[in-house]
């Protein structure tokens, strides 16, 4: 009998020893090697073909491997030259001629030239292109205005649009506009997404499924070789595990840190917390086809009733700022600084509800469980429900999983719901209002105006802004649009998300970008 308990004890001891023995009896003082940056990603990339992906998580890798014709200037959402050294726009806004950078080669050695640019856009847009089947290319509609891409000479390429389309340049700066190596696409076909080749500051080395994506310094980079020797992207889907890896020293940089953990990292001198407001807006769509929100007073009442300060400070723990209108302040050039957020004023809200003739009827509120850019949607929905109850509104929450939620909200709220949560992240101030606030963007016309906002003045302004090619002219129009929409209140404007990241103190020269891209060219880690 003693033999048995001895065996049990022995086995327990063996297990404990095994744990220590394999760890080499040394605390695994996880120090990542110098000049190699290990980045904790929120998920495995779907593909490293920039034309085939839609997730910000994938863009974080791609922006370091590829270049576009243009890019956002550091710290802004304004376009500057990249693979194109300059461009001319025709008077009618329909022809863009780009002069290409000379002497640039893709990582696979093939030359970057006008033919390569044409290949990239034809592959995405032309269903008869021999490599169109290497898709699908879900965001190709960013370039649906492109009618033809013409090679003028080795280093000049012309895009002909079917209508003036001002966001064209910033769409080129988006990952869907990154330029891939035609030779690599021809070689790998459908598997190009696992064998990427671009012109960017880092070259692809390997992709081990669910373990890591490794890229290394491109010493011949046209804009100066990066400081780091290599970057390793690790997918760590669980946020708690990501935090644990950061604390244990297994990663150097993590993005999308849960709000609960920010304070802990901020207090610890071994870490640096980075924050940056992005082109994101979180709002409630109000159904303007049916009472009570067919009346402006009721819509404004919701804006006055919601305690946005409490939402961003308590629910979101400072990871967002109060939104004033439909355009995020990150679009500095197009943002109307004069706009003030609706203050939290329950008394005013009650008066407005009375004016609108609202009498305690049930208001159905669609809430999602999660989803891209939705922050903490259930907690936020509940807090908003309580704020509205405080001014006498009888709000009933219906919660859906993200895909189901989109399936309910995108076709329009009529006959189903009065309000719905929504959030957008875009790369141009045009995209969101154009897709969600025009009469022609009603769901039945294929747009996202699920609350049926219709103001002819806004329609005209947005059309004009699209046709204008001068940035100042566009800016003035967007500012005017924001004022009108703020007053009409088709949405309840709630929050602009600040992206966050935590790095170890060893990481130098790292800054988050308003585009939410992760640019690592200038980052060092001695």
């Amino acid at each position: 009998m003693t033999g048995i308990s001895r065996a049990l004890k022995g086995a327990l001891a063996a297990l404990a020893m095994a744990g220590f023995a394999v760890s080499g009896l040394q605390p695994a003082a996880a120090q990542t090697p110098p000049n190699v940056l290990i980045v904790g990603q929120i998920a495995e990339p779907k593909s490293l073909d920039p034309h085939a992906v839609t997730a910000v998580n994938d863009f974080r890798i791609l922006m370091n491997v590829y270049d576009g014709l243009v890019r956002y200037r550091d710290g802004t959402l304004e376009v500057e030259p990249a693979l194109a050294t300059g461009w001319d726009i025709s008077e009618d806004g329909k022809t863009y001629t780009f002069r290409l950078r000379q002497g640039v080669t893709f990582h696979d050695g093939s030359p970057f030239n006008a033919e390569a640019v044409k290949f990239n856009f034809d592959r995405m847009l032309d269903e008869n292109h021999p490599y169109h089947d290497t898709g699908p290319f879900p965001l190709a509609f960013f370039f649906s205005a492109v009618e033809a891409v013409t090679v003028e000479d080795e280093h000049t390429v012309t895009f002909t649009l079917n209508e003036p389309y001002a966001p064209f340049l910033s769409n080129l700066a988006y990952p869907t506009g990154l330029i891939v190596s035609p030779a690599a696409v021809e070689e790998h076909g459908k598997d190009f997404g696992r064998h990427p080749s671009g012109t960017g500051p880092f070259r692809f080395v390997e992709w081990q499924s669910n373990t890591r994506v490794v890229v290394e310094r491109n010493p011949d980079y046209w804009d100066g070789a990066p400081a780091l020797e290599a970057v390793v992207f690790r997918p760590i889907t669980d946020a708690n595990t990501r935090v644990a890896e950061m604390l244990a020293g297994g990663i150097d940089l993590m993005v999308e840190v849960p709000p609960d953990n920010i304070a802990r990292f901020a207090e610890d001198p071994a870490f640096k917390v980075h924050e940056q407001a992005g082109p994101h807006v979180w709002f409630l769509i109000l159904n303007m086809k049916e009472p009570p929100f067919d009346k402006k007073a009721a819509r404004q009442a919701v804006n006055y009733a919601i305690n946005k300060q409490a939402l961003v400070e308590n629910v979101l723990q400072g990871t967002a700022e109060i939104a004033a209108g439909p355009t995020p302040p990150a679009f500095a050039w197009a943002y109307n600084e004069a706009l003030e957020p609706y203050p939290h004023d329950p008394q005013k809200a009650r008066e407005l509800l009375e004016e609108a003739g609202y009498n305690g009827e049930e208001v159905v509120f669609y809430v999602t469980e999660g989803g891209s850019g939705m922050l903490d949607p259930v907690a936020m929905g509940t807090a908003i429900q309580a704020d509205l109850a405080a001014v006498g509104m009888n709000v009933k929450i219906e919660t859906y999983e993200w895909n189901t939620f989109l399936g309910e909200v995108n076709p329009g709220l009529e006959g189903k719901a009065d309000m719905a949560e929504m959030a957008w992240m875009t790369n141009d101030p045009d995209t969101l209002p154009y897709l969600t606030l025009r009469t022609d963007a009603f769901p039945e016309n294929g747009g996202f105006n699920s609350g049926y906002y219709s103001n002819p003045e806004v329609d005209t302004i947005l059309e004009q802004a699209r046709q204008a090619t001068e940035q100042e002219e566009r800016a003035a129009l967007y500012k005017q649009m924001q004022e009108i929409v703020h007053e009409d209140a088709p949405w309840a404007f709630v929050a602009n998300w600040k992206q966050n990241a935590v790095s170890t103190a060893r990481v130098e020269n790292f800054d988050l970008q308003p585009s939410f891209f992760l640019l690592l060219k200038d980052v060092a880690k001695p």
Binding site: M1, G3, I4, S5, L8, A11, L12, L15, A18, G19, V22, S23, P27, A28, A29, A30, P33, I38, E44, K46, A52, T54, P136, P138, L139, K190, D191, G193, R194, S209, N210, T211, R212, V232, R234, P235, T237, D238, N240, T241, A244, E245, L247, A248, G250, G371, S372, G373, E401, W402, N403, T404, L406, G407, N410, P411, P443, G446, G447, F448
Partner: protein
């Protein structure tokens, strides 16, 4: 024995086929589709339609199913649209990782479950029994994902003895020692509940056997207690414990879903969760088929082991 084996394998085929129909129907019935999942906020009806056409999802459901089945019978599991690679490559790679984790957990829970059960039974109502029973109860009751986080906090973050997540070191590593270091925490976490279940059943089975007349006879013959317990009692008790181990193997595979998420183990459980959330039908089908087939196989192995051990079942 061989005939029995073949019969059982043949019986598994309709089960697996039925399973593919059920999975297909469930995936068709849950709202949302891959195109919406891929496009997210940009899912206009027009964009969804175009993408569905490119993904081959514009056909009717029965058509889609028949195409899939016909391809499967030729050994083609299709191509995952969320990962843009052949389903079979992904499934086998991920299943391999799960087998390593589940195998280690199964080994741990069998060894410790049996030992704890035997000790408890032999020392019934003694201190050892009470302590073991207490820990068994805690083990069974504790949510394993929570235990996993706790172990990460203690052994990885505070003591820095073991890595918090992953299967291999991201930089360097990649050898067996590296794998074992990464395996300790998830395997222990995954084994805890099953250890408790096996320990309880072993204890009950042992107590049952120890009351039998032939045990008294064996003791009366003057055999050593050790011999009585291992040769006579344990062997008899094992017959009723083995099918439970087979079932636990299934639970361990199922539990791997949480554990793989907590420890970022690149296994098939985590793959299935991702595949479902992106509505990646072919990947779900492939993953479920492989998991179900292995479940059937584990139970078959348990039955065969029982056959070998139980003289009453010999024909």
């Amino acid at each position: 024995m061989l005939a029995y084996f073949l019969k059982r394998i043949a019986m598994a085929v309709p089960v697996l086929w039925g399973l593919t129909v059920i999975v297909f129907l469930i995936m068709a019935l849950i709202p949302g589709d891959p195109a919406t999942a891929i496009l997210g906020a940009y899912a206009t009806p027009e964009n969804v339609e175009r993408l569905n056409r490119q993904l081959g999802l514009d056909r009717t459901l029965p058509e889609q199913y028949l195409i899939w089945l016909a391809n499967l019978l030729q050994g083609d599991f299709g191509r995952s649209y969320s990962l843009n690679r052949p389903v079979i490559d992904e499934v086998l790679e991920r299943f391999n990782a799960t087998l390593i984790l589940a195998g280690a957990a199964l080994l741990l829970c069998t060894v410790f479950g049996l030992l704890a059960g035997i000790v408890s039974a032999v020392r019934q109502f003694g201190w050892t029994d009470r302590i073991v029973t207490f820990f068994v109860l805690i083990g069974i009751s504790m949510p394993s994902f929570w235990l996993g986080l706790l172990l990460i906090l203690v052994f990885a973050v505070n003591l820095r003895l073991l890595p918090p997540s992953g299967m291999y070191a991201v930089y360097g590593g990649g050898d067996l020692a590296d794998l074992l270091r990464h395996l300790v925490l998830p395997a222990v976490t995954l084994a805890v509940v099953a250890t408790g279940v096996i320990a309880r059943l072993t204890r009950a089975a042992m107590l049952e056997v120890l009351r039998q007349d032939y045990i008294r006879t064996a003791r009366a013959k003057g055999l050593s207690e050790r011999r009585v317990i291992y040769r006579h009692a344990f062997k008899a008790a094992l017959v009723s414990v083995i099918p439970v181990i087979g079932i636990q193997a299934g639970f361990v595979l199922g539990g791997a879903v949480y554990i793989e998420t907590v420890f970022q183990w690149p296994g098939i459980g985590r793959m299935l969760v991702q595949a479902i959330s992106t509505r990646d039908l072919l990947l779900v089908q492939g993953g479920v088929l492989v998991v179900a087939a292995s479940y059937v196989l584990f139970n078959l192995l348990a039955d065969l082991a029982q056959h070998a051990l139980d003289p009453r079942l010999k024909t």
